[in-house]
């Protein structure tokens, strides 16, 4: 009898999980023409929060313009999702899932490591992939199918190094990144290059994955007398670093990359004395219409609000996801066909004016961008404030 009860309990646990995962999936079987856009983003793992915000931008764009004209016919645009789990080992399987669902073009991913890991799968399927906020040079280098609409890490690292020197007169910087994460390590290398070239010194450290004790690193930065802490890390780590730096009364400013541009990080900085600066793709207030409409969309839609971290602050990645969707539509229109190969051929010549600025591609497949927005956290209101526009050139 007890055995039966135990079995029932175990089954209840299992089915509650199964019930949670069911209920997705959509179909439009009423004969209308459909073109599918693959959304290759993390919905779980370290970068799950960022991936969801980027996806949110695409979903909003899709709700605004749900159709596209191809050769005089109206196609319904359907977003198809695959969760790469922020994990380079899972990325190829998620990519294959999209290929299996016959998508015409792929958007994503948030995070360069997973994009690089999935690149081969998209290449073999003859698909074009459009990176939204993956900033590592290796995403587009040496291939003709991966493109991106954001700036690159060499640019971003240089911008942040210049900013640290201009704004704080920093001479010594402490860099902290996740061990084995290409995004973190890449940015630190570029930051270090630029910072040392300009006469500064850099101490760089790496922490292991899933680490949550950062007090030792912050203590080290303090005792070494560093003027600035540069940590281009994932959101979950950034919140830890900010709150632990506040606890240890760190008096140096924290400078972060585009990943730190997130509500969670702002919440961690709220009420502390930490000076937090980030570089990013879009600053709220850059396009008033877009801001107003997407805020309305987020506030009306409970799922969107949850994906955005429970409030209506607009992340730069959301604006980028929005732009990426329209760049993809432009490519589809230019191709005049739903054929992935034609879209891939049409993409490099697409020129589009998005909310985050003008988008055009160079011969490598990268967007030509020359400025980054720097934002500073307001520790009382927990909102970002526009600091400056910084270029790479000194």
């Amino acid at each position: 009898m007890k055995r039966v009860i135990a079995l029932v309990l175990a089954l209840v646990l299992v089915f509650s999980l199964a019930a949670c995962s069911a209920g997705t999936g959509s179909s439009s079987a009423n004969g209308e023409k459909v073109i599918r856009i693959g959304v290759f983003e993390p919905a779980s793992g370290d970068s799950g929060a960022g991936g969801k915000k980027e996806t949110l931008g695409m979903q909003y764009a899709n709700s605004q313009v749900p159709t596209v004209e191809i050769g005089g016919e109206t196609y319904k645009v359907e977003l198809v999702y695959a969760d790469n789990g922020s994990d380079q080992a899972k990325a190829p399987a998620a990519a294959a899932e999209l290929v299996g669902k016959n998508v015409a073009i792929v958007l994503g991913s948030y995070g360069s490591g997973v994009s690089i890991a999935a690149s081969e799968t998209f290449k073999n399927a003859g698909l074009a992939a459009l990176g939204v906020t993956c900033t590592n040079p290796n995403v587009t280098a040496g291939n003709d199918h991966y493109f991106r609409i954001c700036f690159l890490d060499p640019f971003q690292g240089t911008v942040l190094a210049n900013f640290s020197m201009d704004k704080f007169g920093a001479k010594k910087a402490y860099c902290l990144g996740e061990l084995g994460n290409e995004y973190d390590q890449g940015l630190i290398a570029f930051f270090k290059d630029a910072f040392e070239k300009a006469g500064g010194t850099v101490i760089a450290d790496s922490f292991p994955t899933n680490n949550s004790d950062f007090s030792s690193y912050i203590n080290k930065a303090k005792s070494e007398g560093c003027d600035v802490l540069f940590c281009p890390v994932s959101i979950a780590y950034a919140t830890q670093i900010v709150s632990q730096a506040a606890k240890l009364e760190a008096n140096f400013p924290i400078v972060g990359s585009d990943t730190l541009d997130d509500n969670m990080v702002l919440a961690a900085a709220k009420g502390t004395d930490i000076k937090l600066y980030v570089s990013t793709f879009y600053s709220e207030g850059g396009n008033a219409d877009f801001d107003k409409n997407i805020k309305a969309y987020i506030n009306e839609n409970a799922d969107a609000k949850t994906a955005n971290g429970g409030n209506d602050t607009i992340s730069a990645v959301t604006a980028m996801g929005y732009d990426a969707y329209f760049v993809a539509l432009e490519a589809i229109k230019a191709a005049g066909s739903a054929d992935p190969a034609a879209i891939k051929a049409a993409l490099p010549s697409v020129v589009y004016k998005g909310v985050s600025g003008d988008i055009a591609f160079d011969e490598i497949g990268d967007a030509k961008r020359d400025t980054a927005f720097i934002k500073v956290a307001n520790n009382e209101t927990a909102l970002w404030e526009f600091e400056t526009q910084q270029t790479a050139a000194k």
Binding site: L9, A236, T239, S243, M264, A268
Partner: protein, 291 residues
């Protein structure tokens, strides 16, 4: 000087938090000869429960409620996933434990949607104080004191109460004590209740110090607490506590040097060395072969 003080302080508090998890591993192993892989995830669930409850109710209600719910979870896991396998080979129970671990992680992933959750700041223990000029949180000082009090209470419980005597009997010989009339199921349940209670207290202290909860939050502390339990001699409570403090302090000290990258490698290298050199750990019981 401030640097060293600060490092040692965070090492001691980290060690204390590992100790509270390690006791749960060591007690369950002592009695069931089971490495309860789900223990670290129970610790994470305790953190998440607190995150969700502290938004809807005052802190003095949510803390006791969180501890009660976590203990209940530990109890239910034992009844649903381990008890039916009591007469099965030990390996089956271990696999069941791994299954529970993954189930908890994925349920947490579903509940949080992959977003990191910020832990509530608990009044008083999250305040900043200065010790020898080094700023730290009150929790850093509270942790080792609380650990010592809890361990003393636990030792008293094991040495001087009826359930404690039953626990020692069961850990010496499972079958004989059953024949002697010890109610084996209630003893095992009590062990899980105590273990999860300590994990819940540990999570309260740990997440006050490191206030971000993600579904994988329990994995690394759980693994390190397990190493601490092996290091101290699995099955021995004082061993687990001392092992946890050694690991916590070494880890933070290494992170402060140029070898910061190897801080985790050190912990696991220690595990291998201990297993090779002294498999029973510092305080481990000697195995005597009976004919």
């Amino acid at each position: 000087m401030e640097f060293l003080t600060s490092q040692i302080l965070s090492g001691i508090s980290l060690g204390g938090q590992y100790a509270l998890i390690a006791i749960g591993y060591t007690m369950v192993y002592g009695i069931l000869r089971l490495i309860n892989f789900a223990h670290g995830d129970v610790f994470m669930v305790a953190g998440l429960l607190m995150v969700y409850m502290s938004t809807v109710m005052p802190i003095y209600v949510s803390i006791p409620l969180m501890i009660v719910l976590t203990v209940l979870l530990g109890f239910v896991i034992e009844r649903a996933a381990y008890k039916p396998l009591r007469s099965a080979p030990r390996m089956s129970v271990m696999i069941s434990a791994i299954g529970v671990s993954y189930l908890l992680q994925n349920l947490a992933l579903y509940a949080t949607g992959g977003q990191p959750k910020t832990y509530a700041s608990i009044p008083w223990i999250s305040n900043t104080i200065h010790i020898f000029g080094a700023p730290t949180r009150v929790v850093t000082v509270v942790t080792p004191i609380l650990v010592i009090i809890l361990v003393v209470l636990l030792t008293l419980l094991i040495n001087h109460t009826k359930i404690g005597i039953a626990m020692r009997a069961v850990s010496k010989d499972f079958e004989t004590s059953q024949l002697m009339g010890v109610k084996i199921n209630s003893v095992i349940s009590a062990t899980f209740v105590i273990g999860t209670f300590l994990a819940a207290v540990g999570s309260l202290l740990y997440f006050t110090n490191y206030p971000t909860v993600v579904p994988m939050s329990g994995a690394l502390p759980g693994l390190k607490a397990f190493v601490a339990a092996v290091f101290g001699g699995i099955g021995s409570i004082p061993g687990a506590v001392i092992g946890a403090f050694i690991i916590g302090i070494c880890e933070t000290l290494i992170k402060g040097t140029d070898f910061a990258v190897f801080s985790d490698a050190f912990t696991f290298a220690l595990l291998i060395i201990i297993l090779v050199v002294k498999p029973t750990g510092i305080f481990g019981e000697k195995t005597t072969d009976k004919v």
